[in-house]
Each structure stands twice: as C-alpha cells, then as structure tokens.
Symmetry: C2
Subunit: 147 residues, 2 copies
C-alpha cells in the first residue's frame, strides 16, 4: 500500500445526530457539522461493480494527529454501508489508509486475493473499500487525496 498509517476509523450508525452528540460528549468537543457524501454525478459510486445512487451522512472527530473517527449514516440505496448496517448492525465498518495511486494499489491488493467492494469520488479525491474480512477480519478503505 505504501503506507502503514491508519487515518480513519469508520463507524456505521442508524442516527448520526444522536451518535455525533454522544461522541462529542465523550471527547469534550462541539458536535461537528453533519455532511453528506458527494452527489451521484460527482461520486460515480460503484458497489459490487454496479452504479448506485447511494449516499451517506458523515460526521468527523479528530482522535489523533493523523486520524479521525467517521460516523456514517447511509441511505437505503445499495452500498457496503447499508449492507453491513443491515447485516451486522451498528459498529465499526472500516479502517482507512491514505494512499497514492489508487489504481495501482487496488490492483496490487486484488492480486493478493482481496476484493474491491465499493468505490467512489469526491471533489478532491477518491476512495475504495476492500473486503479483507477473511484474512484481516475487517474492511479496508483506501483514501486518495489529490495534491
């Protein structure tokens, strides 16, 4: 991957307002703004190889020099967020690494037997979720920020 620094812990929730308030209370910070992933025409989200309109509400908490907790409340369109929330319930969905060269890194992981389950874009970058449940016992997210 070219890095071993975890930059995000992603947590699926049913009610992001309540969960964000609970984290704000725990961490002693203001409740952050709730935002939403990019619109479909920007995100071009693909889940299991198919285009999807799925979006997710998001809230971020800084929990270290290089790391955020991301709360995610997905809509009901097909996505790894909705699938895992419906299948496993609320809880941690992924840990993320910031990488450079998305295609190359995804190809390298695919060759090692991992599978890309969802990808999308935002203004300024792109992400990929990699199913690593069998060996690493979790989902990886790769994040690439444009320079």
């Amino acid at each position: 991957m070219g890095t071993n620094v975890v930059t995000q812990i992603g947590i699926l929730v049913n009610n992001i307002d309540e969960a964000a308030q609970a984290y704000a209370d725990l961490l002693g910070v203001e409740k952050p703004e709730i935002c939403i992933t990019a619109a479909p025409e920007i995100a071009s989200t693909k889940y299991l190889g198919k285009s999807t309109l799925a979006r997710s509400k998001q809230a971020f908490f800084k929990v270290g020099p290089n790391i955020d907790i991301e709360l995610l409340e997905p809509d009901h369109e097909p996505s790894t967020w909705r699938h895992d929330l419906d299948t496993y319930g609320e809880g941690i969905h992924h840990i993320a690494f910031n990488i450079n060269g998305m295609t190359k890194v995804v190809d390298a992981l695919t060759q090692k037997g991992f599978k890309e389950i969802q990808k999308g874009e935002w203004i300024g970058g792109r992400y990929s979720y990699i199913d690593a449940k069998e060996t690493l016992k979790l989902t990886l997210e790769l994040l690439e920020f444009d320079k």
Copy 2:
C-alpha cells in the same frame, strides 16, 4: 476522559498466527512476536464483576505515531474477548484511549451511564473495557500506564 487520542484498535481473531502474518504482509513488516496477557495472579482479571482466569494471546502493529493495531486470540475462560468472538465473530473489538487516574475516569463514565465490563492489570499498568455499544456503537478500552 482527559484525552481524545485513540491509541489502539483491538481486533479479535481465531488464529493469531495466521492473522498476524496477514497484517505483516499488508503492512510490509516482520511478523511480530506473539505474546500473552499477564498471568492470573498479576492480571486479577474481572469480567462482569467476577474473577476469571481468562488470558489472551496478543500481537501488536504500529499503524501511526500514537496508535497500534492489537490482535487478540483469547482462551476459553469467560471474558469480553471470548464473549464477543463467540457472539459476533472475528473483527474489531475495541478502540482504546490512554488515560490517567483509572478509578476516577471509570467512575465518571459510569455516572454517564456506561458500564465497565472487564478490567485487569499487567506489570506497569491496567485496563478497563467499557460497554459503549448503545451510544458509541463500540467497546472502549481505557489504558493506564504507570509513570
């Protein structure tokens, strides 16, 4: 808690040798030594208020300036590790914060409605697992290292 820096991501696994090798391969590092939590006479582990002989194999990977991934393969004595592994399967068990003044912090969290589910000691410190599934959607670990 007096901190908002996450210092550990704890992951339950059935086979720590295999999982540690998979993480070593992903991160491009040597497979670390597999260690084990302190013996019962040092750990004085309590799970749901009762003493238990439970121990867990452990392996650590540095994934940031202040943060490790901890792999945990518990034995079959009663513990939050064994309970969650049997109930939810392999995957992330907790995120940890390093705190000072364990009793005070546990008391403060208990007053906020959280519940301590397990605690124990090692030579040089102590830990407490706090059930925060209802509001934070995960288990917190508090770690206190003696100065």
